[in-house]
């Protein structure tokens, strides 16, 4: 790790001033991703601004019935919070499908949004990578790309975004609250992360001098009909090959509203609102869900090693929607897929 300066921010505004004053500084909160990347010399900040002691660790209901989650709430506290477990169980489930309890105890909500791809070429500073260093090329396209994107990729980058939590947040219509030098702004989580295009070095639309202060969930949590199903190479503590968050609002056997987002398949949580619209008014059965799965994967493109992910994603979408319709969400401890 190269040398860096360490400072502690005493307020959100001070943190914004500090980062605005140093173009190569980084915020650190839980540090579980950033320190790993610094040990690999992928991230080389001149300065770490420690925001972990800022008062952004509350989970509270707002007057309009939304739930505001402070950016520094540890992932484990969020997953086990009674309000989240009861009203937004899909979020608890997705969080508990990711990482290990040790990491969830440290990793913050804001840091989860900011975590970087686990593409092996991004991590290997001896290899070209457009995300790590612009216009050097993509090693994954002609390399080992079994885990890489099948949706929304570009000729510059086929990396995937690794979060589980954000897949559920996308399905729940979460909003991201940020503060910058010119004040506060809010953006939908679905618009927070970017597709790679020809600027894969930009993971998201947060400006360099902005800080995430909270994530807000609208009142509706789809607690009756939901599931988060994650398919991976081992049963726990591995990144997704494909994951699906599905939530339904049902009237009898008919779908009133549907939410569908995929993880592990793209440069961002892949929410497909076209499919959600198609499902409205349809019977909640295998035929409807199989049709929906076909639509989700309509533009999927494989690289040399990941064609299996298209079929895997199709089946996982179908299975997760069935679990949601039956009210039998995937357990994250028993790995049996109902």
């Amino acid at each position: 790790m190269i040398n860096f300066r360490y400072v502690r921010a005493s307020s959100v505004n001070e943190a914004v001033r500090q980062i605005a004053g140093d173009p190569t500084a980084k915020f650190i909160a839980g540090g579980t991703n950033l320190l790993d990347l610094m040990k690999e010399n992928v991230e080389r900040p001149s300065q770490l601004i420690d925001i972990s002691r800022l008062p952004l660790s509350r989970i509270e209901e707002t007057v309009n019935g939304s739930v505001r989650i402070g950016a520094l709430v540890p992932n484990s506290d969020l997953a086990y919070h009674p309000l989240i477990e009861q009203r937004y169980p899909i979020l608890s489930s997705a969080i508990l499908a990711g990482a290990s309890q040790q990491l969830r105890n440290m990793a913050s909500v804001g840091g989860n949004l900011m975590q970087r791809t686990r593409c092996a070429y991004f991590y290997d500073t001896a290899m070209p990578c457009n995300k790590r260093e612009r216009n050097t090329g993509c090693s994954a396209i002609s390399g080992h790309n079994r885990n890489h994107a099948i949706l929304g990729a570009s000729a510059s980058c086929i990396a995937t975004y690794p979060s589980d939590m954000c897949v559920a947040l996308a399905a729940l219509d979460a909003r991201v609250l940020v503060t910058g030098p010119s004040g506060d702004r809010t953006m939908p989580l679905a618009g927070f992360h970017r597709l790679p295009g020809d600027t894969p070095h930009l993971d998201n639309n947060l400006a360099r001098d902005e800080i995430i202060t909270a994530v807000e969930l609208p009142p509706r949590g789809f607690a009756n009909n939901y599931s988060y199903l994650k398919v991976r190479d081992r049963l726990s503590y591995a990144f997704a090959l494909v994951s699906v968050a599905a939530a339904l609002d049902m009237e009898g056997g008919t779908i009133r509203e549907a939410r569908l987002a995929l993880g592990g398949v793209a440069h961002k949580p892949w929410r497909d609102t076209d499919v959600e619209a198609v499902l409205i008014g349809q019977p909640a059965n295998e035929a409807s869900f199989a049709h929906a799965a076909e639509i989700v994967l309509r533009d999927a493109k494989a690289c040399s090693h990941n064609a299996f992910k298209i079929e895997l994603a199709r089946r996982t979408v179908l299975r997760t929607l069935m679990q949601a319709a039956h009210g039998t969400p995937q357990s994250q401890s028993s790995k049996k897929i109902a």
Partner: protein, 201 residues
Amino acid sequence: MARPVVSRLQQLPWSGCESENASQIALMVDKQPASPDTAEMDPFSIPERTDVVMVVNGVERHVNVAPWTSLLDALRDHLDLTGTKKGCDHGQCGACTVLLNGRRINSCLTLAIMQDGAKVTTIEGVAIDGVLHPLQQAFIDHDAFQCGYCTPGQICSALGLLGEGRAKSSEEIRELMSGNICRCGAYPNIVAAIQQVIRRS
């Protein structure tokens, strides 16, 4: 200002190094003059050390660390608490698990400087007055290790798990202990040891 180009060969010895070693390496690297009007850090400068106070296993301890010193390196290299093991140093194996303010974490993925004022429990602080914690006794009873390298992390992680109160079945124990890898494959016995403690508590 462009940052000095560092070859991979030059970078490698820096990871996890303490400053004595790092400053020797710094001498081997051509230094580029730092511009005085830039906020940027000269990555080859000798790190400033900072005093950090932590309560480790119930005792107030002072360490003087570089900014990059992980909590793991502070425990092992500064406080000679070598019970906590360095496995992968990347948060993938769990060998470095300790309790930080009562919660289990990977000590390799946090900086000591960030934990000023924290309470840390390592494997050295689990037995009280020479009496093994029931979890330690259960690991012996169930032969829950072979080489033993992962064991301090397994036991600290299991202590955290007991405090969380979220695991009862063997499936739940396995899932919530998945951050601790045992290359000898003692998992069935580790699960049995933890179950013994949960049953008796």
